[in-house]
Symmetry: C2
C-alpha cells in the first residue's frame, strides 16, 4: 500500500540534498478561502476546537459606524486577505459561514505609547493595529505567524481545544503593552456588548467573561488568561455612555492597578518590561460555563509554557484526522485542496463544553454532557447536505455525538425543537427547513445510531410540527406554504418535503409504519408547488393560484431564498425519478440541465443576495451556495452519467483552488469542502437519509479510507488524468458495479472500488 507517510523522495542535486517527507496535514493551507467570499480564517485551531485563534484584519468599526454596514458579511471570519493591517488576535471565529458573530477577546501586543483605540485601516498608526505583509505571514495547521510591522513584534499563535496560546517576540528592550480589547468583536456594534467582567487574580492570571447580543442573542464566554511573566502595571478603560453607579465614594483610583473591572464596553492593558529578543507568552482558556471552568481547562490542556509542544500536539491531532483518508492525486495542488478541504470540514461543529463536560444550555442552566461530547455551531441548512454524511462515513463517532448534542438542544429547547442554526446555546433560526432531521435520518439509515433513536424520532416529529415556525401550520393545512402566508414559500415547501421524507426514513427504520406513511405523504408536497405550465416550482397563494410576475432566473423572485426558481426547481433529492418525469422525461430534462450550466446569466439576477457571487457561478448553476449542490449528479437519472462526470470534474477544478481566493463561495461551515471531498472520491450523497451515493468522477488517483470500524476502503482511479474525466467502468471488490450507485454498507464493509478512467464519454 502506497501512502504519503511512506513516500520519501530523495532529491539529490549537486551540493544540495533535501529530504521530502510531507505528511498529509502539512498540505493544509489555512489561507485558502480567506480572500473574497470564502469566509475562512488563517489562524490556529485543532479539529472541532472550541478556540479558533486568528488575526482579525477588520470588523465593523463601531467607532466609525453607528449602524452596521456591509462589512458584516465580508468579515464573517474576521480576516480578509486583501487587508493591509491586523487589528489583533481574537479567540473565536466561524469558519466559512454566511453570517458573522464571535471574535471574542482580542489580544494585541504593542510597543511605544499606549493606544487603546484600534485605529483604522487607512491610518493604522492612529491606533494599536499594525501593518503586516503576507511575506512575513505563515499559516499552517494549528500554527500562525506574522510580523507586526508597526511594532516589530513577531506574533505566533497556536491552540489546544479550549486554550489559545500566543508567543510574542520583542526585538529590543522596551515597555511592551498587551491589550485585551473586550469591545472588539465580529458583527460588532455599539450595542453588541452586553457586559464584560474582569478580575486580575494575581500578577499573571486574569479571569472574566464577555456577554454579547450578536447573532447569538444571549451568549457569554468566560476566560482565564495568563502571562509567562508578571505584569508590571495594568489598567482598565471603560467606554460606556453612562456609568450608572459612579457615586462619591469612588474616590479611590479604580482604573489603574485595580484588580476588578466591569462595564458594557471595556478594554484592559497590561504592561511589561521586555529585553531585546525577549518572548512574552500568553495563554487564554475559554469556557462556556465559568471562569473556574476556564482555569481548569487551562490547567488540564496546557499546564506548561512550551509553545512548540502545543503546536505539535495540535498538529498531531490534525495528522490523525487527515490520515483517515490518504490520497494520491494528479497534482500537488489537488492534494493541497483535498487536505485543506478535510481541514475545513473538521473545524465545525465545535466542542462546546468544559473539559469536565459542563456547558451552558439553551435554558441558560448548566448541564453536563453525559457520555458524549457536546458540540455547537450547527449550520444545518448547509451541512446536512454533505458534511454530516461525510462524518457518517469517516467520523461516525463524532457525528453520533453531534446528534446527541442536537438532542440535548431539543431537550432544553422551550420550542421542543431540534436546532435550525444554533451556536453557543442560542437558536438563531437562520435559513429555513428543519434539516436536523436529515442529519438524524442519514445516521439512522446508515446504522450510526449511538444515540437514543426513539427520542430522536420524537424530536423530529415535534420539530416538523412547530406550529409557529416559518409557515409550518399552513404547510400542513395547504400541502404547501402559501406565499401570502409566509415568504420564500417554494424553498420552504421543497425543503420541508425533503425533510419529511427523512422523517419517514427514520420511522421506517424504527418500524413505525404509520409515521412513515404519514411523512411519506408529506414528502410529496413538492408536487404542490410544481407549475407544469412554466416548468418550474413556483409560489402559490392560499387561494391556490400561482403568483404572477414570475421570473425564474431572478434570485429576488418571491418564493425563494438564496436561489432562483431555476436552481430550486431541481430540489427534489428524495425522488429524482419523479422530478425527471415532472420535467417531461429524461431527454427533455437532460436538455434542461444542460441549459443550466451553459446559459449566460446577467448580473442583475444575483445581485439580491450576498451569498451568491460571480465567483461561485457556472452559467446559472450556483456552486457558491448550497441549494444546487446535488444538481451535477442529476444527469445520472437521465442516462447521461458522463455529463455528471464532466460537470463534477469541471466544478472541482473551477471552484476549488489552492489560493486565498480559492473558494467559489462561503465554505459554509465545511459543506463546500465536504462536497469537494465526496466528489474527489467519486461519489456524492444526493439524498442524505438514503444509503446510496451517486457516482461521479473521482479526482484522486487513489484514496485509502481508514474507517473507524477498523476496515479499509480503497478507491482507485486507473488511468487517471486531468483529461481522463470519464468513467469507463467501475469495479467493486473486483466485480463490475452495475448502476450508478454505491451503497454505504459497501464502504463500511471495507474493500476496493476501482474506477477505470478515460478521455471519452461513455454514452
Amino acid at each position: 500500500m502506497k501512502t504519503l507517510q511512506t513516500l520519501v523522495l530523495l532529491l539529490t542535486f549537486a551540493g544540495f540534498a533535501q529530504k521530502i517527507t510531507k505528511k498529509n496535514y502539512e498540505y493544509i493551507n489555512p489561507l485558502i478561502g480567506t480572500a473574497r467570499m470564502g469566509h475562512t480564517y488563517p489562524g490556529a485551531t485543532v479539529p472541532f476546537g472550541s478556540v479558533q485563534l486568528s488575526p482579525d484584519t477588520d470588523t465593523i468599526a463601531y467607532e466609525l459606524n453607528k449602524k452596521y454596514n456591509g462589512k458584516v458579511y465580508e468579515y464573517c471570519a474576521g480576516y480578509q486577505y486583501a487587508d493591509k493591517t491586523i487589528v489583533g488576535f481574537s479567540h473565536t471565529h466561524f469558519s466559512g459561514t454566511g453570517h458573522s458573530d464571535l471574535g471574542d477577546f482580542l489580544i494585541m501586543p504593542t510597543t511605544g505609547a499606549l493606544q487603546l483605540n484600534p485605529g483604522t485601516a487607512d491610518k493604522p498608526q492612529g491606533g494599536y493595529r499594525s501593518a503586516y505583509s503576507h511575506n512575513n505571514e505563515v499559516a499552517k495547521a494549528n500554527y500562525y505567524k506574522v510580523l507586526l510591522d508597526d511594532h516589530y513584534i513577531t506574533a505566533e499563535l497556536t491552540a489546544s481545544t479550549r486554550v489559545g496560546f500566543h508567543r510574542y517576540t520583542f526585538p529590543k528592550e522596551d515597555t511592551a503593552h498587551i491589550i485585551l480589547d473586550l469591545m472588539h468583536g465580529i458583527y460588532n456594534h455599539n450595542e453588541k456588548n452586553v457586559w464584560t467582567f474582569v478580575r486580575v487574580e494575581n500578577d499573571t492570571l486574569i479571569t472574566g467573561y464577555r456577554q454579547t447580543r450578536g447573532w447569538a442573542r444571549t451568549r457569554t464566554v468566560y476566560f482565564a488568561m495568563t502571562f509567562s511573566k508578571p505584569i508590571r502595571n495594568y489598567g482598565a478603560q471603560t467606554y460606556d455612555k453612562d456609568n450608572i453607579y459612579n457615586g462619591f465614594w469612588r474616590k479611590f483610583e479604580q482604573t489603574k492597578n485595580f484588580p476588578e473591572a466591569a462595564a458594557q464596553n471595556l478594554k484592559m492593558y497590561f504592561d511589561f518590561d521586555v529585553a531585546a529578543g525577549e518572548q512574552v507568552l500568553v495563554k487564554m482558556a475559554l469556557s462556556p460555563v465559568s471562569t473556574q471552568g476556564a482555569v481548569a481547562n487551562m490547567q488540564l490542556e496546557v499546564p506548561h509554557w512550551d509553545f512548540d509542544r502545543t503546536v505539535a500536539e495540535g498538529q498531531r491531532l490534525w495528522e490523525k484526522e487527515l490520515d483517515k483518508i490518504e490520497v494520491q492525486t494528479i497534482t500537488e495542488d489537488d492534494k493541497v485542496n483535498f487536505y485543506t478541504a478535510m481541514y475545513h470540514a473538521f473545524i465545525n461543529p465545535t466542542v462546546y463544553m468544559d473539559a469536565d463536560g459542563s456547558y451552558k444550555g439553551l435554558d441558560q442552566n448548566i448541564h453536563k454532557a453525559d457520555g458524549f461530547t457536546n458540540y455547537t455551531t450547527f449550520s444545518l441548512w448547509d451541512t446536512y447536505r454533505a458534511l454530516h454524511p461525510l462524518f457518517n462515513m469517516i467520523q461516525p463517532k463524532h457525528n453520533a455525538d453531534m446528534i446527541q448534542s442536537m438532542l440535548a438542544h431539543y431537550s432544553q429547547s422551550v420550542h421542543n425543537a431540534l436546532p435550525v442554526w444554533s451556536h453557543y446555546a442560542n437558536e438563531n433560526w437562520c435559513m429555513i427547513g428543519y434539516h436536523a432531521v436529515s442529519v438524524i435520518a442519514d445516521a439512522v439509515v446508515k446504522g450510526n445510531t449511538g444515540f437514543d433513536t426513539q427520542l430522536a424520532l420524537e424530536a423530529c416529529i415535534n420539530s416538523s410540527n412547530l406550529s409557529y415556525y416559518d409557515g409550518i401550520t399552513d404547510y400542513k393545512t395547504y400541502g404547501y406554504v402559501p406565499e401570502d402566508k409566509s415568504v420564500a414559500s417554494v424553498s420552504k415547501t421543497l425543503e420541508y418535503a425533503y425533510d419529511d421524507w427523512c422523517i419517514a426514513r427514520i420511522a421506517e427504520k424504527l418500524g413505525k409504519k404509520d409515521i412513515a406513511a404519514a411523512y411519506g405523504h408529506r414528502a410529496e408536497n413538492y408536487k404542490n408547488v410544481w407549475d407544469a405550465k412554466s416548468g418550474f416550482m413556483r409560489a402559490r397563494l392560499s387561494n391556490g393560484t400561482f403568483i404572477k410576475n414570475f421570473d425564474p432566473l431572478d434570485t429576488g423572485q418571491a418564493g425563494y431564498i438564496e436561489g432562483n426558481a431555476w436552481n430550486y426547481s431541481l430540489y427534489v433529492p428524495q425522488d429524482p425519478e419523479a422530478l425527471v418525469l415532472m420535467n417531461g422525461g429524461a431527454a427533455k430534462f437532460a436538455v434542461h440541465l444542460d441549459s443550466l450550466f451553459t446559459m449566460q446569466l446577467p448580473d442583475k439576477y444575483f445581485e439580491h443576495t450576498e451569498d451568491i457571487s460571480r465567483d461561485g457561478i457556472i452559467g446559472n448553476y450556483v456552486h457558491g451556495n448550497e441549494p444546487s449542490h446535488h444538481v451535477a449528479y442529476l444527469y445520472n437519472w437521465v442516462g447521461q452519467a458522463y455529463k455528471t462526470q464532466q460537470r463534477v470534474r469541471m466544478i472541482l477544478n473551477a471552484m476549488y483552488k489552492p489560493a486565498p481566493n480559492g473558494l467559489g463561495g462561503n465554505d459554509d461551515a465545511g459543506q463546500m469542502s465536504a462536497w469537494y471531498i465526496f466528489s474527489s472520491l467519486g461519489f456524492y450523497p444526493v439524498a442524505p437519509g438514503s444509503p446510496d451515493y451517486s457516482l461521479g468522477s473521482p479526482l484522486v488517483e487513489e484514496a485509502v479510507l481508514h474507517l473507524e470500524n477498523g476496515k479499509t476502503f480503497t478507491i482507485t482511479a486507473k488511468n487517471q488524468s486531468a483529461k481522463n474525466v470519464y468513467v469507463q467502468k467501475v469495479e467493486l471488490n473486483g466485480r463490475p458495479l452495475t448502476g450508478l450507485t454505491l451503497k454505504h454498507e459497501d464502504i463500511m464493509k471495507g474493500g476496493n472500488l476501482v474506477f477505470f478512467m478515460g478521455s471519452k464519454a461513455v454514452k
Copy 2:
C-alpha cells in the same frame, strides 16, 4: 412569669365582648418608616428573607428622565406613603438603606385595554399603574393587601424565604392582564438593565432572569413564575433602541405566544379570562444561581396554592423571632415601636443562596454554602454599631452565619478584603472604613465563634492593609489620612482607628500579642487628627498642617462624610476616657455634650447631605444618621449618667413613632431599630468589640430575653413611667450593679436585671 401570650384581657361591655390575645408579631406595623426618609417598605417578607414583595409607588421614571434625579434617594425602598398610585409589586427591596437598588420583577394585574407603560403619578390612567387609598391598605407581618382603584382588583401579597406569592381578586367577568415589567427597577435608568431573558415553559410556568448594573454593578436574579390557571394569550414587547440581530429570517411572529424573549429592555404580559370574583394567584420564586434553582426553590418552599397557609407560615417565623424578646411596655404604642423595630432589625442581611446552598459569589462562579446560611446585603458602616451586637445577643447563630458569609466574601474577593457594603455578590464600596472587622471582633470577644477565627483575623489584617483602598496606605504612612490625599480624611482616620482597635481585640483574644500591639498602636491614630486649638477633630494635610476654612457645624466641611466636625469629633468609641481628657476633662466635656443637644442649627448646615434631615436632628445631635449613635451614652463617662438616661428616653420618644413618618431617618438596614431595641432595654454597645454595654434608661417595663443557649435574661424597670426616666439604682441578680456597665457574659448566663426608676435625676 408574665408574658404577652398569657396576657388575656377580657373587656366586657354591654353587648360587646372582645377577646384580646395579641401576639408579639401582631404589633408589627410595616408602614412605620414608609413616609419621608425612613426608607422602609410595607410589603411582605419573612425574617432575613430573600424575597421582599412590596408595592412600588414610583421610581425614577426612565420614560421621563434621561438622567436619574433626586428620587434615587427618596425611593430607596420603592414606596413613599404620600404617593397616590401604585405602579405594581416587585420582589426585592432594601429596608431602610441610604442608597437604592433592586425592585426586580414588577408584577401588576390590570383589566381593560392592555397598557405596558406604567404611566405617571399625575396621570395614572395613562398607564398600567393604579390609584389606591390607604383606607384600603393593610400591612402586617408577611401580608400586604390593597385595592387597586383603577382596576377594582384586590391585591394580596405574602412570601416565603425565596418565593413571592400574589393573590389577585377580580370583581367581574373580564379579560385580565398580568404584566411582568422587566424594565422596572429601583434606582432605574435607561442603562440600568443589562439583559433580560424569559421562557414560557408551559401554559403556567415562566422562567428567566434579569441582569442589572445598578448599585450592584454586576447582578443577575433568576426567577420562576407560575400562575394558578393557564395563560390564554401572552406576549413580549422589547424597548431596545436597536435590535442588533433582526435578520430577514425573523419572518415568523416572535412577539405573541412565542415562548422565548430576550432583550435589554423587555416587558411581558399574560392574559386570562376571569369570572366575577375569581382569584388568580401568582408565585414568583427567586434564585441567585439559575432558573433551575428558582424552580426548585418554589417546589420546596411553596409547592401548593394555599395563599393563607404561606401567610401563616411566614407569620409563625416572625412570631418565633419576635418572641425572643417579650416586653411589657408603658403604652401600646411602645410595643408597636418595639416589635416593629425587631421586625426591621430582622430583615437584613438577607439569605443569599438557593435552598440547596448554591449561590453566585463575587467571582461570578457558583459556590455552595457548606454548613452555614449565606447572607448578603451588608450595610456595615451602619450595622456594625448596634445591629450585629444585637444579633450577638439574641441571634448569635444568625450572626455567626453572617460572619461566615463575610469570610466567604473575603475568600472570593479579588481584593482579599472583607465586605464594605456588599449585596448580591457585589462590593459597592459604599461609605468608609473596614467595619466588618468590628462585627468579627464583637463576635469573637463575646465568644460567638462559630466560624474560623484564624481565617477571620487574617481577613481583618488584609482588609486593613488594602493598599489602594480609600487612603489606607497614606493612613499607615502618616498615622492619619491626609485630606489632600483622600477626602473625608477625618471620618476615615477616626473609623480606621476604631476598626484597628477591633482587630487588636481579635488578636488579643486569639493570643496574637504582636498583632494586638501593632493594631493597638494604630487604634490611637485618632489623636493625629485632634486639633486642640479648635477642640475638634480636623482634617490635616500631608504636610502636617490642619486645613484652613474650618466650620465645625457644616456637614459639607472638608474632612467629613455624612456628619459635621461636631458629631465626628465625638467618635472615639474605643476610648471614651481618652476622648474626655482630650476635651479638657469631664466637666468641660459635659458642657460640650450639652451644647450638642441644645444648640440651634441653621438649615444651611445639613443641606449638603441627603442622609441628614430635620426629622432626625435634636439640636446639633443627628440621630437620623449613624456617626453619633453612641453619643448620648458618653455622659456616662463624665459622671452625668442621668443625662444619658434623659437623652436616651428623649431620643426614643422623639425619633421613633408608630406612624408611617415615625422614623427620624433611614432605618439603615436595621441599625436605627437596633439602637431602639438596645436603648429600650436599658443598655447600648458603645464600642462593639468590647464585652461591655453602657447603661441607659430602659423604656420597657419588662423584657424577657429568651437566649439561644436556653437561658433567660429578664430586665425589669420598677416604677417605670413616661416621667420616671431616671435610674435610681440597678440590681443584677439581686445584687447592686456598681458602675454603668453591663457585661455581655452576665446576659448570656441568664438572670435578672432590675432598674429602679424615678422622676428625679441621681446626680
